[in-house]
Structure formats: C-alpha cells, structure tokens
Amino acid sequence: MNTNFEPKIVGILCNWCSYTGADLAGISRIKYPANIKIVRVMCTGRVDPTFVLKAFQQGADGVLVSGCHPGDCHYVDGNVKAMRRAPLVTELLKQMGIEEERFKLVWVSASEGEKFAKIVEDMVSDLKKLGPLVPVGGAVKHA
C-alpha cells in the first residue's frame, strides 16, 4: 500500500453547528489533518445525495456530512431528513462498488471543536487503511 497516500475528503457542514464547530477548532488552534475540504450548506437537510455522488465522481476518497445534534437543528428537523437519506446514499454507494465506510454522517455542535478534529483525524486514518478510491469503469476523475 502506498504509505504516502493522503486521502481527499469533502466535508459538507451545516452552517449553524458543524461549520461553527470546525471554526472553533481553528480558533482554539486545535490541529486536524488538512485532508478535509469544507463545503458549507445552511443545514444537512440541504444535502442532496447527488452532492455525495458528485464528490466521489470528482475524486474524493471520503465524504463527511456533519450537522447539528438531533433536536438541535436550526430548522427543526433538517438533520433528521439527512439521517433518513443517509441509508439511501450508503446503498447507492455499495451498488457502485464504493465502500460504505467512505461516507459518514455525524453530529458536531458549535462547541465541539475538539470532537470535529477527532472525527476528521479518525476518518483520515480509516481512509488511509482503506486506500484510494479505485475508479470503476473510468468514471472517476484521476487526481
């Protein structure tokens, strides 16, 4: 296995909790791997499964969707909608031959900077073990 492999992760974060939580990690000078690139949405309820598929198509090795804890969503229950859509995404990924570990849905509140850093760290190390996403049928753009 290529030990120098640095996985690319797309993080889709909700504006109110996780994005702020990630921000807090930064403000508190907590170190976490630079492998994650963050896309902000207003709420995880906005996350169309297409976004996740698009990220993999564009060469991501993992996708992290993170929102407010259940009950804390700024829009009442957007995170519950995300939670319902997640199994669908996992199922689609499996059918495409993409390991389900590459997609993760987590809850990080605005005060959990440390937790956010930990999640990213864990995900990076998991993906390193898993290796790069192997393109099937050449649809995946090579990095």
């Binding site: 690319k8 797309v10 949405v41 709420c43 906005r46 969503c73 829009y75």
Partner: protein
C-alpha cells in the same frame, strides 16, 4: 376592583378541595380567588369541582351570597381567533417530580417537602400563615435543605437549574428568621452568581447556618427520626444528620407539553428540552421562526431578574417588528420554478415552516418567501430539481465540490 370573596366563604365545598397554588397543603372552595396577586383579583368557579356544573345539583349558596349578582353558570369556554404580528412564548417550566428520586423519601416520609411547598409554608398567605411547622404542627428543631435534586445529576437532568442555590440560601435564612432551628445545607458547589448574591450568602453564613459541601445522598427514617446521609467532601467524612424537616430543592425542567408547543410554533428545542433561541449569546429571545420570541424559563432555567430582563427584551423586539411594519428576511431562501415543477408535492411535507403551498390552478408548488428560512430541505428532496435556494443552489454547490477537489 377586587372581588369581595363572599362566594368563596359561602361555597358548600369550602375547605374541601386541595389548593394547587398551595401545592395541595391547604384546601379551598369550588368558588375561589386563584391567589392573592391574581390579575384580575376576582373569584372564579372551578368547573371540574363545582357541584352544580359537575352534577347539576347544588344549593347555590354562592349565588345567595353574591350581592352583585355576578355569578353566571351559563358561561362557557370560548375559543377565539386573534390575528397578531408577533408572539412571545413565556410558558415557563415545571418542577422535577421528587418522587422520581425515591432515595430522598419524598411522598414516603412526612416532613419531606419540595422547595415550592416550603415556599408556601413560609408565605404569610400560605397554609400555615407563614409559620414553619412540621406535619404534627410543631416548630422543627432542625431543618436540612438539599440542593440539586434532579439537576446536575447524570441520572436525571445534567444541567444546573441555576436558581436553587440562591433559593436554598434564602430558605435557610427564613428558617433562621422564623424559628430557632439548626439548619444544615447540603450543596455540591455554591453558585451565587448574581448581583448581591454573594453578599447574601455571606450574611446567611454569619447567621450560623451549617453549610455542608456534599450532595445529600439519601433521606431515611430511623426510629421515626428523619436522617440525612451525605459525604462531607470538605471533611472527607461520611455524615448522618438527624433532622425534623427536609426541604428538597428540585430541578427546573421543561414543561411536559414543550414538544407540542414547539411543534405548533415551528421552533426547536435544545438537548435539555428547553426552547432553542436563535443564538445563545447574541440573540437569546428570537427563535428560528420569525415573529416568535421566547422569554423566561421556557428557554432555560433562570431567576427573577434574568426573567424580567429577557421578558422586557422579548417585548421590545416584538414591538420593534410591529412598529416598523416590515420584516427583514434572509437573502437565503428557496424558489420553485413553475416551468420545471412537476407538481408531485414531495416538498410540501418536507418544509418545517409550512412555507410551501400547492397552487391548485397551475398544479405547482409555491414557496412563500417571507416564511421560508432557506434550509434547503425541499431542494434536496425535489425529484425534478425545480427548487433553487438562493446562494446554495445545486449548480453552485456542485461547482463548489468540484472546486475543492480540483
């Protein structure tokens, strides 16, 4: 101006119905004045208890007694619809049911009171006219006050109820003022956070109250004597203290109907179950639904000064909206393209703010931009990709994903 109260003394059920305002420690009539500071200070009839209303039979002593002929039994409850520009929710809290923590003996032993019951005991309009008395009618020789019953406790509520330290210190002061009893106060930490609170705490310490740092673990009865067991963490010793009366200062908890109320008004609740404010520091009175404000303990446990402050803030913010006659809406909102919309209605139940309606004429979904908050749940669910969320539309987000991976 004020009700004379003649009907309350004439009622045939006089001194028969447990008075909820006194936590059931006293009894009242079916015609009653709710409490001494009630507004308006006038008598009402308890329709659940009144014999005439319940059974259709009564000697109607109250009607006889009323010199103003003010009693009208034909009055019915009416539901009225009022159009308003702004709503303030100040639905308050409930107290933790001390029976859920049976180790403290509430409801098992006599003379174990909750804080609110003790509050009524010490009130001059309360069941004992303000005298602190045990169930036997004697003045207690020693009183234990236990903090944090049901709060700061992994088994019940994790949060701090905020008001109990100060009210416990006040209870201790009242016992000292009204009786010669020895007072033992069991606390985890003393949180005297407000203006002049620390000063009051110091004063009560000087009054000779025994402050024991350690949470009361158990209240038991040994040979008819109440005993409080606790670890004194300052002495590093286990202590058993016999007392005549125990006051359990119970946690403030969200009302049992908080979830229903939150659903009706389209607002969220935080993990502890209290209503969620827009921002914990910068926007503590508005909610995720415009025009709905929150104040007081429905948002989080707080004491009277803080409640008054938040109530005033909520009133001012409500008035600001009404006075300008305009509302500012976020630029992030959704729009559905009628040329693309297939009219499947998938989006309608997805909207947590009921902003989407169905145009029966054109058979398409229509989003009310003033109500929409821009969360994008509808756009993510739309099978035809007909919904565009300003600043977060599909094209933009997909391009962003492409961009970060480039």
């Amino acid at each position: 101006m004020y009700g004379c109260g003649d009907c309350t003394t004439a009622c045939v059920l006089k001194n028969r119905i447990p008075d909820p305002f006194d936590e059931g420690l006293s009894k009242r009539s079916a015609a009653y004045i709710p409490f001494p500071q009630a507004i308006p200070l006038k008598a009402v009839i308890d329709q659940e208890e009144c014999l005439l209303l319940k059974k259709g039979k009564c000697s109607k002593k109250c009607v006889e007694a009323c010199s103003r002929e003010a009693i009208d039994f034909s009055q019915k409850e009416a539901v009225r619809q009022v159009e308003v520009g702004s709503i303030i929710l100040a639905t308050g809290f409930e107290l933790f049911d001390a029976r859920k923590a049976p180790q403290y003996g509430y409801g098992i032993y006599e003379d174990v009171y909750t804080g609110i019951e003790f509050e009524r005991l010490t009130n001059s309009s309360g069941p004992t006219q303000g005298k602190i008395l045990t169930k036997k009618g004697e003045e207690p020789k020693s009183v234990a006050i236990l903090h944090c019953i049901g709060s700061r406790d992994e088994n019940y509520q994790k949060y701090c109820s905020r008001v109990c330290c100060m009210s416990s210190v006040k209870f201790a002061h009242l016992v000292k003022e009204k009786t010669d009893a020895e007072v033992f106060e069991f606390y985890i930490d003393m949180r005297t956070f407000g203006k002049q609170y620390e000063e009051f705490y110091n004063r009560v310490q000087e009054e000779g109250v025994n402050f024991i740092r350690g949470k009361g673990a158990e209240v038991a009865q040994v040979d008819g004597q109440l005993v409080v067991r606790a670890e004194d963490t300052l002495l590093g010793a286990y202590r058993e203290i016999p007392v005549d009366m125990v006051v359990l200062n119970t946690a403030l908890v969200p009302r049992h109907d908080a979830e229903k109320v939150a659903q009706i008004f389209g607002i969220s609740r935080s993990q502890d179950g209290f209503f969620l404010e827009s921002h914990i520091k910068l926007d503590p009175v508005t909610t995720s639904t415009d025009g709905v404000h929150i104040a007081g303990c429905c948002q989080s446990p707080k004491d009277i000064p803080d409640t008054v402050a938040q109530g005033s803030a909520a009133a001012a913010q409500s008035l600001a909206v009404i006075a300008t006659g305009k509302v500012k809406i976020s630029p992030v909102s959704a729009w559905s393209d009628p040329d693309i919309c297939s009219g499947c209605r998938t989006c309608i139940p997805l909207c947590p703010f009921k902003a989407i309606s169905f145009d029966e004429g054109r058979k398409v979904a229509e989003i009310n931009q003033a109500v929409c908050k821009g969360c994008g749940s509808c756009a993510a669910g739309c099978p035809s990709n007909a919904i565009f969320v300003a600043h977060f539309n599909n094209q933009q987000l997909l391009a962003e994903i492409e961009g970060v991976l480039a």
